[in-house]
Amino acid sequence: MANLDKESAVSVNLTNPEEGKWGMVIDRDLCTGCQACVAACAMENNLAFVGEELSGNGRSMHWIRIERFWEGEYPEVKATPFEPTMCQQCGYAPCEPVCPAYATVHSQDQQLNLQVYNRCVGTRYCGNNCPYQVRSFNWFDYERPEPLNNQFNPDVTVRRRGVMEKCTFCIQRIKRAEDTARAEGREVADGEFAPACAQACPANAIVFGRVDKPETVVSQLAKQARGVKRLEELGTFPHVTYLKAG
């Protein structure tokens, strides 16, 4: 099947892994840590409700979380700004080469890291090799208490026990927007749609769009001097840019 390196990807006019196609910019100055994105993501993507006890055992399931660190020695501690953390959709993703089942593969078309649930056998190598620790594993089949069983999103697979999962940049919304645009014979417009987290953010701290087109809002924001990529030194080419406190 089509397996392309960087040069041939460019030759067939596709975006290359380093630049990416879809990207996100998160402004740490605007984020208030309200967790609306976390809730919206869980609703959109059929996330399981793990419960207090299993969460305490380190088996919580989130595709996005609000990260915050303490800086300095007690009592001179200072909290870092809130950082919503989700899969960074790396151009060269550490999770991909370690999967023995080829279940987490790189989408040549969308330049995203895919998780093919039905291919996954649950070795959890990918989760262990992820420097951002954003993958979560279905340790059990979780119950959906009434009335939550009625709010499944039909566009997203309901995962079973023993399967790894992670943020997809709401690929179901990407696919729907592209399908609608193709039906109407046009390109997807910038800002036409957004992933659940960006849509729910009351502070507009999360912006989503094409990073391979210079005129989009994300590209403009990502170019700012405030922009940093997390753990960039690992050479993962993450597609999420954080705007640091300026």
């Binding site: 969308q110 649930y117 309901v158 690929i171 399908d179 193709r182």
Partner: protein
């Protein structure tokens, strides 16, 4: 213990026992596979052949194909539009469930036949837009009484056609064979 079992299996009685056991297992497997290949029973034996033969368009009863992922199955209201005026409706045993559904205002619970598993995202719209006919995937429905899949709807079947459709267009090939096109 194991030695005793082995020597018993070597005896004539043991051989017969083994034969019966393997027959049971094989017939169970054959029955199970057979079950997946038979068409489930529908609440009404709806004859596609008759209606398509009358010249009713597929899209009249399955209007979703043009616009979105799901084609949709008709409700009794759509059937009633015609059948209210057809004399045979009152007399035909085949149509008794339809009359009942309309009188009790209860939906007809069609059993899905053409379907892919939950982890596959299929969309009718791009296929119809690309100029494919319903018959390319669903077979000659005008000759079927109750609908039956002409082939298994598995991944090889999807990909064969996608590779064929893409032809020399490498960009299209990548798009149509990308795991993210069908699995998310």
């Amino acid at each position: 213990m194991i030695k005793k079992l082995l020597s018993w299996l070597a005896s004539p009685l043991g051989k017969i026992g083994l034969l019966i056991l393997s027959l049971i297992v094989i017939s169970g497997a054959v029955w199970g596979i057979g079950q997946t290949q038979t068409v489930p029973e529908q609440p009404i034996d709806f004859p596609h052949s008759l209606h398509v033969g009358l010249g009713v368009q597929c899209l009249y009863c399955h209007p979703g194909s043009l616009k979105g992922p799901v084609s949709g199955l008709p409700t009794q209201t759509k059937c009633w539009g015609c059948h209210q005026q057809i004399a045979k409706t009152k007399t035909s045993a085949l149509l008794a469930p339809l009359v009942q559904a309309v009188e009790n205002n209860q939906p007809i619970q069609w059993v899905p036949v053409a379907m892919v598993p939950d982890f596959v995202r299929y969309n009718h719209r791009p296929h119809i837009a690309a100029g494919l006919n319903c018959e390319d995937c669903h077979g000659d429905v005008s000759k079927m009484t109750v609908y039956e899949n002409p082939q298994v709807l598995n991944m090889g079947w999807c990909l064969n056609c996608h590779v064929e459709q893409a032809g020399e267009d490498e960009e299209k090939l990548i798009r149509l064979t990308d795991c993210g096109t069908c699995h998310y």
